[in-house]
């Protein structure tokens, strides 16, 4: 992952292709229309393939040829992954697809279209916007709006809190454990796995809040990307609440065109597995990501197949208890999947799982006050998330009286200043 100035040209290349593709798709009919869409998709996926998947595929070709004692003549590319590539190519693709489907008029103003792809708050890590939501906003006049500015700043402060106070604090412990997972056992690994679940949530949702907040300050409304996902009572619900802009992208452009759930059971299972494996692959050219996606797919299939049985069981259990157990079970499944996401290899992920339950214990690489602070910050987060779960941060804050609001702002900013980790660590999703 890197920002290399010359990589702006790649962005420029896809912008030019998609801009003209959009116009030609709109103007054309029949097969010609489809061919312009395909050109656009090939250009975008091609860029993604070269920068993200080329060396991964080439490595497999080398291994395959190695079996036959042949040398691979295809050279490896020593290139860095442009920052935010997966995000802006997906956003660009959604534009041409929507124009093709007739849901969006082709954008004639080149500058506006370029801005759609490069809008800075969400360029590097989303949310992945749809043209219907954002393009028309670029034509509107945006004057200083007190409400927008203050709402945006509140959201940014909340995002910053999640990033520097929680995510970066948890990363101290998580990184040390995952740097040498074989050295840890039992609850240490369990705690590290749980901590990573919260780290990645606070890191990514923190970035999304900052991005949405920054856009709101300027008068733009971006789509919601997270909605208290760890309170989901099922994995289906989790995926409606986690990285919403990407999940809905795969749902609308891959899952539904494949037939969605209105197909045979076999085909449905295939669709789910394919979509989630692709979602894993979107994160990076590594088997750990594919496995992460595939496990989610398998669990979702299991969930769908057992829906009726579970529904019957729930009738005999108090709702609050059933919901509580469901939330915990969903969180446990998600945490298990995160192990594959975080581990550097599949074997390492299995070491983590094996050592977690091998009956041995080891101490965490941290002091008691730091551990206490980490646990307390998670409890504080859960408490806040529970409070805002129905309204969202801004509506929740705005529903209180001025003194309460000001007290909350002061406490939040003081917590960021005093408890923040300012080591300059990047956002996890910048690498995708």
């Amino acid at each position: 992952m890197a920002f290399v100035p010359v990589y702006i040209l790649i962005l420029g290349f896809t912008i030019v292709i998609d801009y003209f593709a959009g116009i030609f798709v709109e103007k054309s009919i029949g097969k010609k229309r489809k061919s312009f869409l395909i050109i656009s998709l090939i250009a975008n996926i091609g860029v993604l393939a070269v920068f993200k998947y080329y060396n991964f595929l080439n490595e497999h070709i080398t291994q395959l040829l190695g079996i036959f004692h042949q040398e691979n003549p295809i050279p490896y590319l020593s290139i860095l992954l442009p920052i935010g590539l997966s995000f802006h190519t997906f956003q660009a693709m959604s534009y041409t697809i929507e124009v093709y489907r007739g849901n969006q008029k082709a954008e004639r103003h080149f500058g506006i279209y370029a801005l759609y792809v490069m809008f800075y708050p969400q360029l590097v890590a989303g949310p992945i916007e749809r043209p219907q939501n954002i393009l028309h906003q670029f034509y509107e006049k945006h004057k200083f709006n007190y409400q927008n500015v203050t709402d945006g700043l509140k959201l940014m402060a909340w995002g910053l809190f999640k990033k520097v106070v929680i995510a970066d604090r948890l990363s101290f412990i998580v990184n040390q454990v995952y740097d040498s997972p074989a050295d840890y056992h039992g609850t240490s690994l369990l705690i590290a796995a749980v901590f990573f679940s919260f780290q990645i949530y606070c890191d990514f949702s923190g970035y999304s809040d900052i991005a949405i907040g920054a856009a709101r300050v300027m008068g733009f409304n971006l789509v919601q990307n997270f909605n208290t996902p760890y309170f989901a009572t099922s994995l289906t619900e989790f995926w409606r609440r986690w990285h919403i802009s990407l999940s809905s992208w795969f749902r609308d452009y891959v899952y539904i065109p494949l037939g969605g759930n209105r197909v045979t059971l076999k085909r449905f299972c295939f669709n789910i597995l394919l979509v989630f494996a692709l979602s894993g692959l979107w994160h990076g050219a590594k088997y750990t990501f594919i496995i992460w996606g595939a496990i989610h797919g398998i669990l979702l299939i299991y969930e769908t197949l057992t829906r009726q049985i579970r529904s019957k069981i729930s009738e005999n259990i108090p709702t609050i208890l059933y919901s509580g157990v469901s939330i915990l079970f969903t969180f446990a499944c998600v945490t298990l999947c995160w192990i594959f996401f975080r581990a550097t290899s599949i074997s390492e992920a299995f070491i983590v799982i094996k050592n977690m339950f091998d009956g041995r214990q080891s101490s965490l690489p941290t002091s008691s006050p730091e551990l206490f602070l980490a646990v307390f910050s998670i409890i504080f987060l859960l408490f806040c998330e529970w409070a805002i779960r129905n309204k969202g941060v801004i509506s929740f804050i705005n529903s209180h009286s001025t003194p309460v609001r000001w007290l909350a702002y002061t406490v939040l900013v003081l917590l960021i200043l005093n408890f923040g980790v300012f080591g300059g660590s990047s956002f996890i999703y910048f690498q995708f």
């Binding site: 200083f144 007190y146 500015v149 203050t150 604090r169 941290t366 002091s367 006050p369 730091e370 602070l373 000001w406 702002y409 002061t410 900013v413 003081l414 200043l417 005093n418 408890f419 923040g420 980790v421 300012f422 300059g424």
Partner: protein, 348 residues
Amino acid sequence: MKKFFLKIILFCTIILAASIILSSFIYPKLKLTDYSWGSENLEAKRKYLLQNPNKYNTLFIGSSRVWKQIDPALFDTLVHSKEATCSFNLGENWMGAPEIYYVLENLINEDKIIPKYIFIELSKIKSINYSNIHTNRTHYWCNKKDYLFAIQTTLSSNFSQAEKMYNLCTYSIAYLDNILNLGYVTEALAIKNKNEQLIGNGFDCTSIRTKRDSALAKPFLADTSVVQKLAENCAAQFSKFEKDPTLLQKYNKVYMNRISSLVEECKTKGIQLIFCMPPRLDNNQYNELIPLYNQIFENNRIELSDSRKYPQLYIAKNSYNETHLNCTGAEDYTKLLAEKFKEILKRK
């Protein structure tokens, strides 16, 4: 918009007031941190000195030019005929003014540490690298006194306008960070968690030898012209001041006042403070330090910078890189320092 900015000003004032209350009243009562210099290496050295209060009577304070170039054991052997010193190296990478004076002042205020001689590197006001603005070290030394000293010294120096502006910005940001307790709790916990052990006299020969005489230094040694240029440049700078002695009067008065007060403060505690001007400086440093050095009383200064007088400090085979000596060079440097110190003792 007016309403918005008024609210922002009010909010910032509340945050500032709350931060001051926290740092002045709450944190001292909570005793989150034992006193620290904010550097693992320095902190380990401080703790070691406190554990061995009467062992060392001579201390060397400075940057890597001190840490990796002055061997206390060799120094003690060389000056033994004149004075029974037992030295300790308190050097740390990148430690320059004003951090160096912050460390010195804290050191002489420690009741348990009573040195007889303190050698301190004469250094110009360091520019804080952008990445170092928020470090633990900055958190400690960039207090009101040293912030004002750095700013006033910078403004009254002959630095370029760009450097003055840069220093003004970075020092102000670092100081503001400290007022706002930026990352304070995190740092306090991190420092509590560290238990670096130090054995010896602060001069870590093993790691220095492996690093300094490693293959990394070889390409540098192969090109003698770099060191040659350094020597020529140094000679030119010293000649410039010799040819026009009026230039020596253009010293930085703010900086000189601090030096004088430090010398006096040490004197009252029975410590002889000796400012050492190291070799291989850049033009800015020569311009700032030569006039200052000239103002210091001769029993409180040692100059080992002039390439014409000390050519052995400007030869490629004694180099680790452009600004540092290797082990052989460090040995020569320590020998020269001991000789100069003996001259001071003779004068006394």
